[in-house]
Amino acid sequence: MKELRNSSEALYDRYADAVTALVMEQYLSALAEALAAEDRAPVEISAELDGRCRKCIKTGCTKALCRHVGRKLLRGTSVAVIVFLLLCGVFAVLFSTVEAIRVPIVNFFIEIQEEKPENSNSSPEADAAASGRNYLEGLTPADYELAEFSDRDEILRILYRNPAGETICFELYPTADAEASDGEAAAAEALTIGGCDAALIAKDGVQRIVWSRDGEESICRLETSAISREDLLALAEAIENKRGGTPPTESDSKLAEPTPQENDAPVYDYDISIPERVLNPFPRPQPTFPDTPPSYGSLPIDVNDVTENIGYYGIDAWMLETGEDQLIWSSVDGQETVDDTIGWSVLP
């Protein structure tokens, strides 16, 4: 057996384990028989010991049960957490790899996001009341109602709409950068609103007044196709007055009644030069076009096609005529080559 143990210690250990278990089983049987055969001498257990033991049993059983239940709960919780993490992992993998799952979920959240303002009882009236900057309030014709109100990032937008769908829109931008002058300067008429330089632009039946207070960078824009030129001017005056300008004139009262709409662009007798500050808030030097015509992809841009220099969000830009499209090409300054072109866009 010694040789066996030396050659295969593990095998011997298994043998030792088995025989020890057998011996201990026999030992337990012998013990039980000995106890059964033992004469039971009467034993007097003291009341104190008996009470102590019974109390131990009572409290100990409860504790043991609590431990037992606690272990089960812990095990159940662990299983639940593992299952939850597995589900999260599977969901994350499916979400990131399967479009059929991702799209409905994303759409669901987008819908919730869109419905959120309604759910939170947000309305243009409430927003306007909260903002306190509804400059059109009480100035529009009677059948116009507030349709949109936005006062975010210092950009104010107020839109009134009548049952026919006609609108009056007032916008206030914090800086002149936001006001685009997209080639409409030619149709502009210079005037004053509340003592401020202003321009009235009429195009495709839409009238727009743009003005800026002296000493301020903000730009006001009032746009509509629904009311007459005179009413529009009176409305602009009233707005400017409401913003803190001169007192409103008598013409303000005219706004209560809508006037017939003029579909055609109005023809004016004015011959007033438009102030440069309004048309072009950022004076810039005359452009010098690059010697080498710029190009974008397969579409070459010939400097000879430049028809007009326009301001485009405070950046030098030129209107180009190339085929059917009009292009706006812009660069940091006119002497830069095409490599320094920072942006262009195609206008329909």
Binding site: M1, R5, Y12, D13, Y15, A16, D17, V19, T20, A21, L22, V23, M24, E25, Q26, Y27, L28, A30, L31, A32, E33, A34, L35, A37, E38, R40, A41, P42, V43, I45, S46, E48, L49, D50, R52, C53, R54, C56, I57, K58, G60, C61, T62, A64, L65, H68, V69
Partner: protein
């Protein structure tokens, strides 16, 4: 609410089981403790500690065969007594007399089965003589009381790995002694 009701029912059931076991065993436990301890207060402390230990093992006891519950309780109280003596530095580890007394030796010559049992007990005494009292306690805690290694390690004040190594050595000693006896499986079945 439902789990609480179940808890209460299970609690009552375990408590009743333990009370029954206690009432059946307490006298024998008291006597067993008295074999190793002379002072009444020590005996009562040991019996009380043994009851606490038995309560901790209520689930195991309920699974045990009825005939093995009393030996389990007696072995527990004996281990508690040994631990008590060790705490008081009064345990002589080489003294086997007390433990050998557990195995009956006499009045078994008439019937064959009694003869066989007497022979078995003699073999057991011979085997246990080959291991120390501590190793015998270790074997009892492992195979009779069915304690996990961690609990045995705590009782011995050693690491669980040391328990496994010590068990392996003890089992080898038992196997060696058994081989020296001329082990025949039929003798043990």
């Amino acid at each position: 609410m439902f789990p609480m009701i179940l808890l209460t029912i299970e609690d009552e059931s375990s408590r009743e089981f333990m009370i029954r076991l206690y009432e059946n065993c307490v006298a024998r436990m008291y006597l067993e403790a008295g074999k190793y301890l002379s002072e009444k207060a020590d005996v009562e402390d040991v019996v009380s500690d043994a009851v606490v230990k038995l309560v901790e093992k209520v689930d195991l006891l309920r699974q045990l065969d009825e005939s093995k519950r009393l030996p389990y309780a007696i072995t527990t109280v004996r281990h508690m007594a040994f631990r008590h003596l060790r705490r008081k530095n009064r345990l002589v580890l080489t003294d086997f007399d007390a433990m050998d007394a557990l195995l009956p030796t006499a009045d078994a010559e008439s019937a064959d089965d009694r003869v066989l049992k007497a022979q078995r007990n003699a073999r057991l005494r011979e085997l246990f003589a080959s291991v120390s009292t501590e190793d015998r306690l270790l074997l009892e805690e492992k195979y009779v009381l069915l304690w996990p290694d961690e609990e045995i390690a705590k009782a011995f004040g050693i690491q669980p790995n040391s328990v496994r190594m010590r068990l392996t050595r003890t089992k080898r000693r038992i196997a060696d002694a058994l081989t020296a006896q001329g082990f025949r499986l039929d003798d043990w079945l």
